[in-house]
Structure formats: structure tokens, C-alpha cells
């Protein structure tokens, strides 16, 4: 049971308040970017490359210009005149906006057609004739590393190979030493496939440049409006578009999951065209364009090893990664962290030795490396550690739950220093796994499994006990393009005691309008329903780095609490003045200050706020407003214990997830209903890569499943009935003890499912299949072993 300090009427933390934002969404009154219609608005469509790697010989726009309604066709050569044909990526790599001579991946933007209607723009797109000279693309990152391979990024002066960066962490010599002496070593190679966030709303924008006032309003699907404003100013400052002339508005967003952090060429072209024509320009990509050209996630090739004793004590881990970034490194990582927070991969286990290294390469795939519902590469890391832990358990002959229990970091050992340098804030891993095992009936499932195995039936039980790392981040280490990763809240309480609060983050469905109001309600006792939350407009919201990587609660949520506490301090002063006592004589309960020992002498927060505007003490600043920019002292480390049960049809390889129990520890819970909703959604985005989703390319660079017809987003039928629960170990350094939850389930679910499937197949000597584990792969493995 979650304890609440406030009444239901106030609706502070712990209440399952119904969401405020839903009122508009259920009535079709959400306001998404494609709903914007401005006077004289032009529509943009994009010509894309059919080839993965080709020289552009010629672009003939003459027929397109004859199409009724077509106003212009923009090519790279046009943008080159304004030096707008290249842009930086968030990882300080470079990316073409439109090419002048070469295309580097299939579906790359080649030209933009501007017309008076959506249909005319599409007609114009069909009429643009591009002559290509195709070249042989490099699709395999290992081949790309081969010194004999041609250099792809010839645009970079002096570049003599396809290597992007090398990264390492940990003690190599010590790790090698432990591995050399270890009684048991297990090793597994795995590929975490390229996938796509596939939010149901694609990306798009309306760029609205006002020539007379030299002012740009950019409505766009962005998770980080302030950062985007700064990026636009950096890219377009030289044509006179400086930061005070730019307003970025992020309206309602139909799902983000990391895919709406990067800047895509379409946005930049729309701005350029609006700038040149003085008219608003709308660009909305199709689903297929979204899947084929927008930033992908994952695509890590990992070799992971674990060393330990015969008795099952983990002693060390070693990770080697090859990261395929496609044409450019367009990750949205903090700039010092090339592999994001992959170094969390040492897991939830108590050992002190690890070494990790990673290399990144260019290939002829679309660019990216977005943190898809994941704090920058944590998903890849957790898949590796949780799979290898199971393989280690198998090798030493221990039940995987037992082995985990014996190796967990103990709750009294927090804060705990990891072998790769993180300080885990808090956790109780034993309690989480125990609760999950009880909820699912682990022991009786193992008995049932033994009986089924005796009959030759395939049933598997899989566990994942992961540690997450979210809430980037402490500004000493974390920045994006140099901007520190703090976040902000501004609270203005009106004279009648109702408030508006604004944030530097941006909800894409997480329910900020409700949860932020609850945090402020908790601190000030003003009912959550009287607190209006606003985000996404850079003209009004305080500067912040946006919403991704489960950072909203750890950063902006903290900022809300601290800003509210500043107001509570002011309220105490005003109450003392009104009640004619000293501040020390007052005590606080949610919603009022009263005099110690004389509870009838009290002032409600509403009375106090009114006085702040009508009767404040002389010498005190009038009004009741506060702003805070919160810079977290550490990251937060949510954790989870997930157990999955699968049944597999031996003849067809068909896999059925029979049950899935997820116990999460995200610290103090703001709204249990919303946390549960986040977990449900994240779990479905976890089963997706585990069993269904992967972007597949052939060797000529063609994407083979770039539409929703063949990219298998789970429906309600594939998605199991999720069972969820929690344990609570508050974050000791976070003002409200919260840790963030959004990405935990996406990170934690895939290994639980993979481990369950492998557990079912392990009696036949099948110990690893790369995700997505499809019926075909299972059937093939069983066939190869002669089982069927």
C-alpha cells in the first residue's frame, strides 16, 4: 500500500488521480502538429533516394514545376547557397540536410517539393526525376571496419577509414587477470537489432517565418523544445535568425520514446523554405518515411563474458561492442558518453571487476542511435548482462533465481560503487525478486516445468533483475552540445490560490499535467486540480533539456518540489506575520500553517497566498512565484525484477507468453495509476524487440520491412496481460525520493522473455538465439538439433 500524506481532495503524491489531460484527448480535442493550419500555408513533400549509396548525376525539376500547385523544388545545391546544406548531429557529427552529390542511405532526403496542398506536393514529388549512379553500399559493420573497405565519409577531410570512435571503461589488466584465473568463464555473442520507436504519430512541423518582424515560430514534434531553439540559432544564426527571434512550440505529441529528440533534415528544409518564401510551411512525414529514414535505435553487436567460481559467485565481466551508426553518429547521448550509459551493464550483482570497450562505425544505413525509451544504451547493456547471468547459472548448475539472490548487492551496501564508476543510490534487489517469485508462484512453476519436460513439452521461465540508470544528469558530467542537463520548473500562484506551473520538459503521453501538479500539491497543499501545468513553448517555459531517458521526474519533478519549497518558506514568513507569532512557532501540515499548541490559530495556503498580493509584510517582495533549475547531485538507479513464463509449440516454434510479472522499484511513487500505465506500455515495447521487431536490410541496402505492413508493432493480441507491482526504496538524494520509471520496463522485459524462451529450449542444448526470437528461429534451432 502506498501511504499518502495529503487528502484525496489535495491529491498530492501517492494518489491515483485521473489524468487532467485526458479530457481533451478523449474528445478529439488534442492539438497535434498536423492539426495546425495557418493562412497561406504551403505543404512540403520529400523526394527520397531509392539507393543506399549512389552518386547524384542530375536532378530534373522541370516536370515537377509544371504540376499545378507546385511552388518550388528545393535541392542541396539551393541550400548550399545559404550554407544550410549540412547540419550538426546532437553528437557533434555532421549530416547532410540535402545532398549536393552523393546519397548515403536508402530513403535519404534528396529534394523537397513545396506546393499549395498536400496532394499537389505529392504529385510534384512523383514528377521530380533524379539520375543516380548506384555504388556498392557497406551494410555490415564488421566489413566496414575492414581496412580494405572503401571510406564512406569522404566529406570529412583526411578520413581514412570508417571508424567513428573507440570508448572504454573499467580496469582492463585486472579484468584480464581475473578471467585468466577464473574457475568458470562463459561467453556469448549477441546482436541487439536495429529497431524503431514507431510512435503512432510520425514526425513533422510547421515552420512559420514572419519576414517583417524577422521572427520564426517553429511548431514541431520535439521532446526538447529549448535545445532545439538553441540548435536552430546555432545553425541559422548566420542568416540572421538569432535565438531571441525563434520560438519553438511543441504541441501535443503522439508518442516520442526518443525518436523526437533528434533534428531531422525535414525540419531544417521547412525552416529554410519558410525563411525564403515568408510563408508557413508544413511537413508531415508518412509512416514509411518515418520507419525508413528517421533515427533508428540499438544495433549493437556485443560479445559479453562472465567469470566466476564453480560455486556460482560472479567475479568479473567483460564487454566488447561494435556499434553500427549508419551514415552518421546521430545519437542523442550526453556528449561525453559515446555509448550512453552502457556502463551500467555490470548489473545488479556484487563484484568489483569489469572492462568494457566499444567501437562505432559508419555504414550505408540511416543514421541514428536514438535512446529509444532507454537512458542511452541501457537496453543493450541489460540484455547482455541478464543473458550472460543466465548462461553462467546454467554452467554452474544453479537455478537462475538462486544464483541472482546469492550475487545481488545487499540493501545495506548502498550507496554502492560499481566497477565502472557509478554510485548506485538505493535498492532492495532481494525484496524485488522475492516478491516477483511469490506473485508468479515460482516454485510450483518449476515443478510444472519438470513434469512437462518429462513429457517432452516446452515450457520456460525467464528472469531479469536489472538496474537502471536515469535522470541525466549531474551537470559536471552531462551535457548535450555543451548545454548542461539540468531541468526547470516555474510556479506562479495567483492571488486566489490557484496556480500555473511551467517546465522545461515536454510530455509525450507521460501525464505531466497531472503528476507535476501532484508534486506541487504535495509540497504546498494546493489541490492538484487547481494547478495548471504547461510545457512545450519556449517563449513561456523556463529553459530545460526536455523529456527523454526517464529524466522528467528526476530533474524537472525535483525542480517542482524545490521551487514549491521556496514558496513554502515564503508562506511561513507571511503566516507568522498574519498570526503575529515567530516563524519557529508555526507548524506545517499540507495546506496550512498553524501555531504550535494552538491549532485553531491557523492560516490556509490560500489565505497566505492572497496576503502575498494584498497584505504582505513591509519589506517583503510581493507576489507568490518561484523558479528553480535543478541540477541533480547523482543519477537515480531504479531497478526491477521481472519473471516471464512461456509455452512453446514444438512443431511450429510458436511462442506464447503465458504470464509476465513485473516488480519495479522507482522510489517514491507520484501516481500509482500512471506508473502502472507506464510499466504496461514499456513492457509491450519490451516484448516487441524480444519477439517481433527488427529493421532488416538486404546487402544492396534495401530495407525489407519499412512499413507497418511488415514491421510488426504488437497489437492487443500479441501483448500479454501484464501483472505489475512494486517495492519502494526512495532515492536518498532526490527531493521527493522518486527515481523515474518510464524506461525500466522496456529495458527489463526483453531479457526476461529471451531467458524464458532459452530456458524452454535448453534441455535440447539450445542456449542462445538473437532477439527477436521468432517462431521460425525456434523451429529452425529445434530442427538443427534433430528435435523435430
Amino acid at each position: 500500500m502506498i501511504q499518502c500524506k495529503t487528502s484525496k481532495a489535495i491529491g498530492g503524491m501517492g494518489h491515483s488521480l485521473k489524468r487532467k489531460e485526458d479530457v481533451r484527448f478523449i474528445q478529439g480535442a488534442g492539438h497535434y502538429v498536423d492539426d495546425i493550419k495557418l493562412d497561406g500555408m504551403l505543404y512540403m513533400d520529400i523526394v527520397r533516394s531509392p539507393y543506399a549509396y549512389a552518386k547524384i548525376k542530375n536532378i530534373d525539376i522541370s516536370e515537377a514545376m509544371k504540376v499545378p500547385g507546385v511552388a518550388a523544388v528545393v535541392t542541396g545545391k539551393d541550400l548550399e547557397k545559404y550554407n544550410l546544406h549540412w547540419m550538426p548531429t546532437l553528437m557533434s557529427d555532421t549530416q547532410m540536410v540535402l545532398p549536393t552529390d552523393t546519397v548515403m542511405y536508402q530513403a535519404q532526403e534528396v529534394a523537397a517539393v513545396i506546393a499549395t496542398s498536400r496532394y499537389a506536393a505529392r504529385d510534384g514529388r512523383e514528377a521530380v526525376k533524379v539520375e543516380y549512379e548506384p555504388m556498392k553500399p557497406i551494410m555490415d559493420p564488421y566489413k566496414s571496419m575492414d581496412p580494405s573497405s572503401p571510406v564512406l565519409r569522404t566529406d570529412k577531410p583526411g578520413k581514412s577509414d570508417n571508424h567513428i570512435w573507440h570508448w572504454e571503461v573499467g580496469d582492463k589488466a585486472k579484468t584480464d587477470e581475473v578471467f585468466k584465473k577464473a574457475e568458470v568463464v562463459v561467453e556469448q555473442h549477441m546482436h541487439i537489432p536495429r529497431i524503431h520507436v514507431a510512435s503512432i504519430e510520425t514526425c513533422g512541423c510547421v515552420a512559420d517565418y514572419d519576414k517583417i518582424n524577422n521572427h520564426l515560430t517553429m511548431y514541431m514534434t520535439t521532446q526538447a523544445p529549448h535545445a532545439i531553439r538553441t540548435v536552430i540559432a546555432l545553425v541559422a544564426g548566420h542568416v540572421g535568425l538569432t535565438e531571441e527571434k525563434i520560438r519553438v512550440v511543441s504541441p501535443d505529441i503522439g508518442g516520442g520514446f526518443g525518436g523526437k529528440v533528434p533534428v531531422y533534415p525535414g525540419y531544417v528544409i521547412a525552416i529554410a523554405v519558410s525563411f525564403l518564401t515568408g510563408k508557413p510551411v508544413k511537413w508531415i512525414e508518412d509512416r514509411s518515411e518515418n520507419l525508413q529514414a528517421d533515427s533508428f535505435a540499438r544495433d549493437y553487436h556485443i560479445t559479453v563474458e562472465m567469470a566466476g567460481t564453480k560455486a556460482g559467485k560472479i567475479q568479473a565481466t567483460r564487454f566488447k561492442v561494435l556499434a553500427d551508426h549508419g551514415y552518421t553518429d546521430a545519437s542523442a547521448n550526453p556528449s561525453k558518453f559515446h555509448t550512453g550509459l552502457f556502463s551500467i551493464g555490470t548489473g545488479s550483482y556484487d563484484y568489483d571487476t569489469a572492462f568494457m570497450e566499444a567501437d562505432a562505425v559508419y555504414t550505408n544505413k540511416p543514421p541514428g542511435g536514438v535512446a529509444y525509451r532507454c537512458s542511452f544504451r541501457v537496453t543493450e547493456a541489460v540484455q547482455a548482462i541478464e543473458r550472460i547471468t543466465d548462461l553462467f547459472a546454467l554452467k554452474v548448475g544453479k537455478d537462475p533465481a538462486q544464483l541472482r539472490m546469492e550475487n545481488f548487492i545487499k540493501k545495506e551496501d548502498f550507496p554502492w560503487k560499481s566497477p565502472t564508476g557509478w554510485t548506485y543510490d538505493s535498492g532492495d534487489y532481494h525484496a524485488g525478486l522475492k516478491k516477483a517469485m511469490e506473485a508468479i508462484g515460482y516454485d510450483s512453476l518449476r515443478k510444472e516445468q519438470a513434469e512437462k519436460r518429462a513429457k517432452g513439452e516446452l515450457m520456460g521461465i525467464g528472469i531479469s533483475t536489472f538496474t537502471e540508470i536515469v535522470g541525466a544528469g549531474p551537470s559536471k558530467d552531462f551535457d548535450i552540445l555543451g548545454i548542461k542537463m539540468f531541468d526547470s520548473a516555474e510556479i506562479r500562484v495567483h492571488p486566489t490560490g490557484k496556480a500555473i506551473a511551467r517546465f522545461g520538459t515536454k510530455s509525450q503521453g507521460q501525464g505531466h499535467e497531472t503528476t507535476y501538479a501532484q508534486i506541487i500539491a504535495e509540497e504546498l497543499g494546493i489541490p492538484a486540480e487547481n494547478i495548471h501545468v504547461e510545457e512545450g513553448d519556449t517563449d513561456t517555459a523556463p529553459y530545460g533539456l526536455g523529456t527523454y531517458a526517464s529524466r522528467s521526474t528526476p530533474t524537472a519533478g525535483a525542480a517542482a518540489a524545490v521551487a514549491a519549497r521556496k514558496l513554502r518558506d515564503k508562506a511561513r514568513k507571511i503566516a507568522a506575520y498574519l498570526l503575529e507569532v515567530s516563524e519557529e512557532d508555526l507548524e506545517w501540515e499540507p495546506g496550512k500553517f498553524s501555531v504550535k499548541g494552538a491549532p485553531e490559530k491557523a492560516k490556509t495556503i490560500q489565505e497566505i497566498v492572497f496576503a502575498a498580493y494584498t497584505n504582505h509584510p513591509q519589506g517583503m517582495e510581493a507576489g507568490f512565484e518561484a523558479t528553480h533549475y535543478y541540477d541533480p547531485p547523482n543519477l537515480t538507479f531504479p531497478s526491477g525484477a521481472y519473471i516471464c513464463v512461456v509455452d512453446i509449440d514444438k512443431e511450429t516454434g510458436q511462442i506464447k507468453v503465458r504470464r509476465f510479472v513485473a516488480i519495479d522499484d522507482c522510489g517514491h511513487i507520484i501516481n500509482p495509476m500512471i506508473v502502472q500505465g507506464q510499466v504496461h506500455g514499456g513492457l509491450t515495447q519490451g516484448i516487441a524487440p524480444a519477439m517481433y521487431e527488427e529493421l532488416i536490410y538486404d546487402e544492396d541496402g534495401n530495407i525489407l520491412n519499412g512499413t507497418f505492413m511488415d514491421y510488426l508493432v504488437p497489437t492487443a493480441v500479441e501483448s500479454p496481460h501484464w501483472e505489475t507491482g512494486h517495492v519502494v526504496t526512495p532515492s536518498p538524494h532526490h527531493p521527493i525520493g522518486a527515481k523515474g520509471v518510464g524506461e525500466s520496463p522496456t529495458v527489463g522485459a526483453p531479457p526476461a522473455i529471451a531467458n524464458a524462451i532459452m530456458d524452454a529450449l535448453s534441455p535440447y542444448g539450445i542456449h542462445h538465439i538473437d532477439i527477436p526470437i521468432t517462431p521460425f528461429k525456434v523451429w529452425k534451432a529445434l530442427k538443427e538439433k534433430g528435435v523435430i
Partner: protein, 165 residues
Amino acid sequence: MKINVTVNGTAHEVEVEARTLLVHMIREILNLTGTHIGCDTSSCGACTILLNGKSVKSCTVLAVQANGKSITTIEGLATAEGLHPLQEGFKENHGLHCGFCTPGMILRASELLANNPNPTEEQIRWGISGNLCRCTGYNNIVKSIQYAAAKMRGDALPSTEPVFV
């Protein structure tokens, strides 16, 4: 060419091209933007509306095919008495996150319940399997539809509190 349609109870004469998709007519000519577009392959259901009471993906119907027919979009569900039971169900049971799939989900569910007032969880899951939601994981969509079904049958309403193990 001109077509006649009744949308949410109001008659309209609309000028469309022969190739205009119904979803574009609804969104861009009639300005009813509650109907969304999530794909280009008839796969996601974000564009679902009712055409003569039957749920259809309006991205897969030409506007001219709707000539003489009646259309219900999400904007037409609530009445003077208040929200439709499905709208209430989704709100009370946290059946949405970003809300982008919600109008289509609700309209699809309305036909499902019209045909089967007391569906099992399995029937609901298959019944909405032409509609994708990337956010909710579907548990609470199922719960929302069960709630609406109970309300429409006049049965006692199920609890909307989240259940934890």
C-alpha cells in the same frame, strides 16, 4: 466534385477530388482533427471512424465512397448529457497516454460493443487488433472497454483503481 455527407448529425455538401481520401476530407476540409493518421498502409487504425455505423479506416476509403452516407467521428460521440461511456471508460481507467490512437480505438470499440455488449477479454483484444497503440500496452484499453460495456449494459461499474500484485 461535390458529395453529400452527414457528419456527426450535420449535413454537409463537400467539394473533393476524385482521389481525396476520406480521412483528408474529414481533417482538412471539415477541420475535424480528432481523427488521426498514423500510417500509409491501413495498418494502425488511428483514422478509424464510423461510416453508417460501421467502423472503417478512413485512410482506406475515398471521400466519394462516403457520398450519401453518415459519418461519426470522435467529435460526435459526446452528447448534451455528457461523455460517451467509452470516453468515460478511457478516462477513468487510464486507457490512453499520448491520446493519438484514442479516437480510433474508441470508435472501433463502439462498433465492437454494438455487436457484442458483453465481450470477453480475448474478444476485446481480437476486436481491437486492427488498431495499434504504442503507449499503453493495451491492458488498460481492455479495462476501459470492459468498463464502458458494463455501463452501457446498465451493470454495476467495475473498480477503476489500479490492481497490483
